[in-house]
């Protein structure tokens, strides 16, 4: 059994290191610093850490004002709150002028688990992706999360980074280099291309393993930057396989699947696209794995759906 880690832990440690390298990095939180793991930064750099209390919109607007003076603010809350309560100030004060505020949404998706629908963000990618100037990043494991934390600090504009509290295996070697806007092919195959993001990357690899037993060769592409999308990688796959699939722990409306569909629409002879995710429903309380099972987002069920689509 490989060692499993939650991406939020890798983020907390990377943020601490970033803070020691970059004095212009400031961190804001809204009463969740132990959950979001900004507690490490808080303890090391109290003069650059602001906990605004339970007021996420206030946090995001405050960060915008700080960014306007040359600081690089990282704002933190649950993915649910940081994208929805704050949508208006994110839009007007951050995305519109392109200020380099980094919004980090923790505990994203169904795997938030027991707290239920009020806390399970299944629309956050759609909301953030729709904003001009906003980049959307969703790393797949601890190595990539660490790299992405440094990369988004360097990115000149605003970024939304989606993290989770679901233990996932390490997928990348230490030498892996995350690059904004680049999708990495983790496994090659010519029958189906599976585009996956975040926690679903390891599930897609599980699915590919199962499909291989049936002699179905699946390509697995880690789309860790959902915007700007690596259109070349998507279009290349579209020209080389018989079926496209997207897998995300998010609504099938507006997320990765929509981004892939937008990318291939209008291209002649594009293979069909199977969009796997939550089908326009709210979540509910349950264990993370129970919820993934219910919404057909385990390796086995992803493989089953792909098998059926290939028939």
């Amino acid at each position: 059994m490989p060692k499993l880690t939650e991406t939020r832990y890798a983020y907390g440690e990377a943020l601490l290191e970033l803070g020691s390298q970059r004095p212009e990095v400031v961190v804001l939180d809204a009463d969740l610093y132990k959950s979001t793991r900004t507690v490490l930064f808080r303890d090391a750099f109290p003069e650059r850490f602001i906990d605004v209390g339970i007021s996420e919109a206030d946090m995001v607007s405050t960060a915008a004002g700080m960014a306007a003076t040359g600081l690089i603010p990282f704002c933190n809350s649950f993915a649910m709150f940081i994208t929805s309560i704050c949508y208006l100030p994110i839009r007007t004060q951050i995305a519109y002028p392109g200020l380099p505020v980094k919004l980090v949404g923790s505990s994203a998706g169904l795997t938030q688990g027991p707290d239920g629908a009020s806390h399970q963000s299944l629309e956050d990618i759609a909301l953030m992706r729709s904003l001009p100037n906003m980049a959307v990043v969703s790393p797949a494991d601890e190595v990539e999360t660490r790299q992405a934390t440094f990369a988004i600090a360097d990115w000149p504009g605003p970024v939304y980074m989606r993290l989770g509290r679901y233990p996932v295996p390490r997928l990348f070697a230490e030498g892996y280099r995350f690059e904004m806007g680049k999708a990495a092919t983790l496994r090659d195959g010519g029958d189906v291309a599976i585009f996956a993001t975040g926690h679903m990357v390891s599930k897609a690899l599980d699915a590919a393993e199962l499909l291989a037993q049936d002699r179905i060769e699946a390509r697995v592409v880690n789309v860790s930057t959902i915007k700007p999308l690596d259109e070349a990688a998507v279009q290349k796959a579209a020209g080389e396989v018989g079926l496209l699939a997207s897998v995300e722990e998010h609504s099938v409306i507006g997320g990765l699947g929509s981004a892939v569909a937008e990318c291939v629409s209008g291209i002649a002879n594009t293979p069909p696209l199977l969009r796997l995710g939550v089908r326009d429903e709210f979540g509910e309380s349950g264990l993370a794995d129970e919820l993934l099972e219910k919404h057909r987002l385990t390796g086995q069920l992803i493989a089953a759906d792909i098998r059926r689509a290939l028939k």
Partner: protein, 283 residues
């Protein structure tokens, strides 16, 4: 610091000139936010021409005072001040809200030189001003931050989140000014929500508060000086104003919050602000 009568007279002249620029740039037969821009005119004048540490030749100077128009629809008053200071050409005011103009209907910091932030959706500006004030502390800079809010805007809940944040961090370099013209887009401010007693609301949130006549130039300048002395806590100036101030038939009438003037009304308005300017020049 005492302000000389000559200095006050000069500022009143500037305010008259600012109002003339507001009315002129808005013109006739075009929908504009007359009411709130005119009610804020004296406050904006006192900020840019009396109080703020500001170099119009260097609007990016890190140590400059920051002014944020949180009631973004009143940005024509700020455009007028910036143009009068030479941050951009006066002639550009005529492009207000036209396709391709740098002067958008609501503030766009990435387009217009001299603007410190984007506003327009009400209620978000004070938090942003807090961010600029906190950044001064983190970056060891000594600038002050001024944020102009509408009294109607105070009905947005985020304003009070920001008020609590500013007090928690004892932001002595932050000054909020409420342009309390008593009117919103449709109705009197008192419709919809109870705001009074406004000064007590702010003091109970941990702010130093002072109430003034927002069209009395000496009172505005004195209040800004008083606010500068509040170094241990944020300060708010509640400026009682008249919506549409300076054009008699616009004054106190919510229907001119965002409206257009016909040719005749525009000529009338222009005549009034010109007469006021001539009077201040004569005096």
């Amino acid at each position: 610091m005492t302000i000389s009568p000559d200095q006050i007279a000069g500022l009143r002249r500037k305010a008259a000139e600012l109002r003339l620029n507001i009315v002129t740039m808005m013109g006739s037969n075009k929908t504009h936010h007359f009411g709130g821009s005119l009610s804020a005119a004296d406050i904006v004048t006192a900020l840019y021409f009396y109080k703020m540490r500001y170099d119009p030749h260097n609007p990016g100077w890190p140590e400059r005072a920051r002014f944020l128009m949180s009631k973004g629809h009143s940005v024509p008053a700020q455009y007028a001040a910036l143009a009068m200071l030479g941050v951009f050409p006066l002639e550009e005011l005529a492009t207000l809200k036209q396709l391709g103009s740098r002067l958008q209907g609501h503030p766009a910091m990435h387009l217009t030189p001299g603007l410190e932030g984007c506003t327009g959706a009400l209620g978000e500006g004070l938090s942003y001003a807090n961010g600029m004030a906190l950044a001064a502390r983190i970056r060891d800079l000594s600038y002050n931050v001024y944020c102009l809010l509408g009294d109607g805007e105070l009905q947005e809940g985020q304003v009070w989140e920001a008020a609590m944040t500013a007090a928690r961090h004892c932001l002595g370099n932050l000054v909020a000014i409420v342009d309390r013209n008593g009117l919103k887009a449709m109705d009197e401010t008192k419709c919809g929500k109870l705001l009074d007693p406004l000064d007590e609301r702010w003091t109970s949130f941990g702010w130093a508060a002072r109430e003034i006549d927002g069209h009395d130039m000496a009172a505005i300048c004195n209040a800004l000086d008083w606010a500068g002395e509040q170094t241990q806590q944020p300060a708010v100036i509640i400026a009682n104003t008249v919506k549409g101030k300076g054009v008699s038939f616009l004054e106190g009438r919510p229907q001119f919050h965002n409206a257009s003037l016909n040719e005749e009304q525009f000529a009338c308005a222009l005549g009034e602000v010109k007469a006021t300017l001539a009077m201040t020049e004569g005096g």
